[in-house]
Amino acid sequence: MLSSWKFWAVLGGIAVVVGLFAYGFTVDPNFVQSPLVGGPAPPFRVAGLDGRPPLSLNDLRGTPVVLNFWASWCVACRDEAAILQEAHLRYEKEANVLRVVGIAIQDTPEKAVAFAKRFGKTYYLGLDTPSGEASLAYGLYGVPETFLLAADGTVLDKRIGPVTRAGLAEWVARISGPDSE
């Protein structure tokens, strides 16, 4: 039996199927790497919240950007609010190495502003259009999602879920390193 090619062919087939299933259990089926990473950031234009002026991608050229999509109804966005505000103060106000921009999606200006005040956000906050122009342009699956844009507008990375201090520090090191834009 062991010398039969049919035996080994069947065994090989079973091994391939079992291997594929085993691999399938190790990966999160909901996580798909954004095709935007490595390419130019899609253009957008959003209205400013709480008296801030409108903002477009062109306004951000020349500085790396942490572009965060959030919403007042998003529970996970509460977890990262303080971290983003901290990053704004540390890396934007003090070190001036990047900008932190937040775009609220599927939200109302009143609720978004109330959320921002509750969590002490002082960085730029905009509001996506009701038709979700910016959300769809950036291929969002939900909120929070955060993109790292290089100074030349290239999308360097994307994070699904709340940002972390360590993750942001890694991004800062990346844009400040020898390979930075």
Binding site: P35, S131, L136, Y141, G142
Partner: protein, 155 residues
């Protein structure tokens, strides 16, 4: 008077044409939306979902169709943002072609193997029957078999 009537008729005709294109537009929106995956749902198309993202995607499809974009261009836009994941069926080009033809190819391959096996079995059965029909035992062998059988029966 005649001019006014003609003008009214022209306006009515244009309105009918617009209404028709509106229905056709909605049909196309639903058709394309049924082939796009809802980003926030589990295994539901954008057409069948009432999630905010799905409503926005339907709106984007409608706007792109109104701009004159083709189905291919609209799908390409969403693939460029979400990746091939957004398509409920893989594209019929490139690597997607493998996924389209693999199941059919596998069925044909297995069917071919089964057919070949059945054909070979039938051939060997025919050969056996043909062999049985032909008496290939010589007279000398036959008499020796009969002699041995008699000896066996006599003990």
């Amino acid at each position: 008077m005649r001019l006014a009537m003609l003008g009214t008729m022209a306006v009515l005709a244009a309105a009918c044409a617009w209404a028709l294109s509106g229905e056709e537009l909605e049909r196309r929106v639903l058709e394309i939306s049924s082939e796009l995956r809802c980003p926030t749902c589990q295994a539901i198309s954008v057409k069948d979902s009432e999630a905010a993202f799905s409503r926005q995607i339907r709106g984007k499809v409608r706007a792109m169709l109104a701009e004159g974009k083709t189905e291919e261009q609209i799908k390409d836009f969403f693939v460029s943002r979400y990746g091939e994941w957004i398509l409920r069926a893989p594209k019929k080009r490139g690597v997607g072609l493998i996924l389209w033809f693999l199941p059919g190819g596998a069925i044909l391959f297995v069917g071919g193997l089964v057919g070949l096996k059945l054909y070979r079995n039938a051939r060997s059965r025919e050969a056996l029957e043909a062999g049985a029909a032909e008496d290939t035992i010589s007279e000398a062998d036959r008499s020796r078999i009969e002699r041995d059988l008699r000896r066996f029966e006599e003990g």
